[in-house]
């Protein structure tokens, strides 16, 4: 075999490998976003139940409850983009957090079996969401790195791959929510 042919084959191989690794990284992001979506849905499904349970007691926080309900409706609309889902998730997290803090002011609620169960379920879902977010962020970081780094960046710009957004992880979410403390 002539030398130019060998060089050509090697270059073709490198190009194929680069192309495949980029596609794999992009698909990994899509796959993991699907799991993020599943757990986010799980949380949205808990919201009506939560609102119904605390509605009667929480006179002063009516606006907060309305906001959460509104956010849920927004998230349930069809055809919203991944970026929108990410922004909505941040809003819902903070709104739910405020509701949970507000629950502390109502002894009847704190003692309520149903609310307690909801709180526990919500904590578990929160924990799953946090895991999914971290997995997604890692996949996006790998993908973004590949897009920016030499030599895959040339290939990526040819394939018109764009940078993706990561979930902002708020410092307070890094810590596990201690349910025992919430109950005391």
């Amino acid at each position: 075999m002539s030398t130019p042919l060998i060089i050509l084959i090697v270059i073709a191989l490198i190009l194929i490998l680069m192309y495949n690794s980029l596609v794999a990284k992009k698909n990994q992001v899509t796959n993991i976003f699907a799991s993020v979506d599943t757990v986010l849905k799980k949380r949205y499904d808990l919201i009506p139940n939560l609102v119904a349970s605390v509605n009667k007691y929480m006179e002063h926080e009516k606006s907060l409850l309305e906001e959460v309900t509104k956010l849920r409706a927004e998230a349930n609309r069809p055809n919203i983009s991944d970026e929108q889902k990410i922004t909505l998730d941040a809003k819902v997290s903070s709104a739910l957090g405020s509701i949970m803090v507000a629950v502390e002011n109502y002894p009847e609620l704190k003692a309520n079996e149903n609310v307690m169960h909801l709180q526990r379920t919500l904590n578990e879902v929160e924990e799953q969401i946090s895991a999914a977010r971290r997995a997604y962020n890692q996949a996006v970081t790998d993908y973004n790195n590949a897009i920016e780094m030499i030599p895959t960046n040339y290939m990526a710009s040819l394939m018109s791959y764009k940078q993706k957004e990561v979930f902002e992880i708020v410092e307070s979410q890094r810590k596990n929510i201690n349910v025992k403390e919430l109950f005391n």
């Binding site: 379920t121 971290r134 997995a135 890692q138």
Partner: protein, 313 residues
């Protein structure tokens, strides 16, 4: 649970009469051992001299027979030591724990942990089993070995793992398999090549890159599920595992399979064995028994396995 210093007090106060008694026995065994080994060595030297050949064979026979005689000589002393020192120590930590000096964690659990390849020979002793804060826990000394045959059909054994093997209930629900191993590749080959080697490890599941840099430096994580691995290894648990590793000062292998957490702490020696040549009253000797036991039993508290915050029942 008692602290290490409380246990040290217990060792030197409550166990003192037993220790003194054992100490006398140890001295007797030691004297006998020295005498026998001198005669034994002389005997072998004489045989070797008389035959004048096969030195390799004689040396092997010397070591094998010597080990058997050594084990036989210290057998009674070892038994008494375990019954009168190790057992009370374990009970001082928690009275409900069961102890057996001869059995070990089952072969099934060891293989099920997926931490090491299937051993051809598994031995062990000093098995402890029970409940701490309602969490099932069991651990023992384990020595797992693999058989090798060279081209001439000669058999040899290599150690897969030797140290403490521990199984406990885990406090979260999960379905896949997640394995956490010491990060040897990245430490010896640097992060770029090391990382490439890790991601191409065909005997393991997918590589999971964790978002805790300290943790990433010490460990490498493989899992069948990227999201679940992070659900199990929360930021808090990663911190705790790092702390635990630092405390144990040995390599740690961890896996999460079924409803359990498996942990293998590589001490590279048989634990909880008495030494004929150092005194039981020596602080260093005592601390090793106490610290190892305390470390194993404190897993539940250290990793907060007892906090079932989630809806797992």
């Amino acid at each position: 649970m008692k602290s290490v210093s409380e246990l040290t007090d217990f060792y030197y106060k409550n166990l003192f009469p037993t220790l003194k008694n054992l100490e006398d026995k140890r001295k007797k065994v030691k004297e006998r051992m020295i005498l026998i080994s001198i005669i034994y060595t002389l005997l072998f030297a004489l045989i070797a001299y008389a035959i004048g050949d096969f030195y390799e064979f004689i040396l092997v026979a010397y070591i094998v027979l010597g080990t058997i005689i050594y084990k036989f000589l210290i057998k009674d002393y070892t038994h008494e030591f375990k019954l009168n020192v190790i057992k009370p120590l374990i009970h001082a930590i928690d009275n409900s724990l069961l102890y057996s000096s001869t059995t070990h964690v089952s072969d099934y659990l060891f293989e099920h942990s997926n931490l090491f390849s299937k051993p051809d020979r598994l031995s062990g002793n000093d098995y402890v089993k029970g409940k701490i804060d309602n969490i099932n826990i069991q651990f023992s000394d384990i020595h797992a070995q693999k058989r090798h045959k060279n081209s001439r059909g000669k058999e040899s054994w290599s150690t897969l793992f030797q140290g403490l093997f521990l199984v406990a209930d885990f406090n979260k629900h999960f379905y896949g398999e997640t394995v956490v191993l010491p990060d040897t590749a990245q430490n010896s080959f640097g992060s770029l090549i090391g990382h490439w080697l890790q991601s191409n490890n065909i005997s393991r599941d997918e590589l999971v890159k964790m978002d805790d840099t300290e943790f990433e430096k010490e460990f490498v994580v493989y899992s069948s599920d990227q999201v679940e691995a992070r659900y199990i290894l929360s930021n808090a648990l990663m911190k705790k595992l790092l702390f635990f590793k630092e405390k144990s000062k040995h390599d740690i292998y961890i896996s999460f399979i079924g409803a359990n957490i498996y942990m293998a702490i590589s001490y590279e020696k048989d634990l909880f064995e008495p030494s004929i040549f150092s005194s039981l009253l020596e602080y260093k000797v005592a601390m090793e028994y106490i610290k190892t036991l305390h470390l194993a039993i404190s897993v539940v508290k250290e990793l907060k396995l007892n906090q079932r915050l989630w809806s797992k029942t």
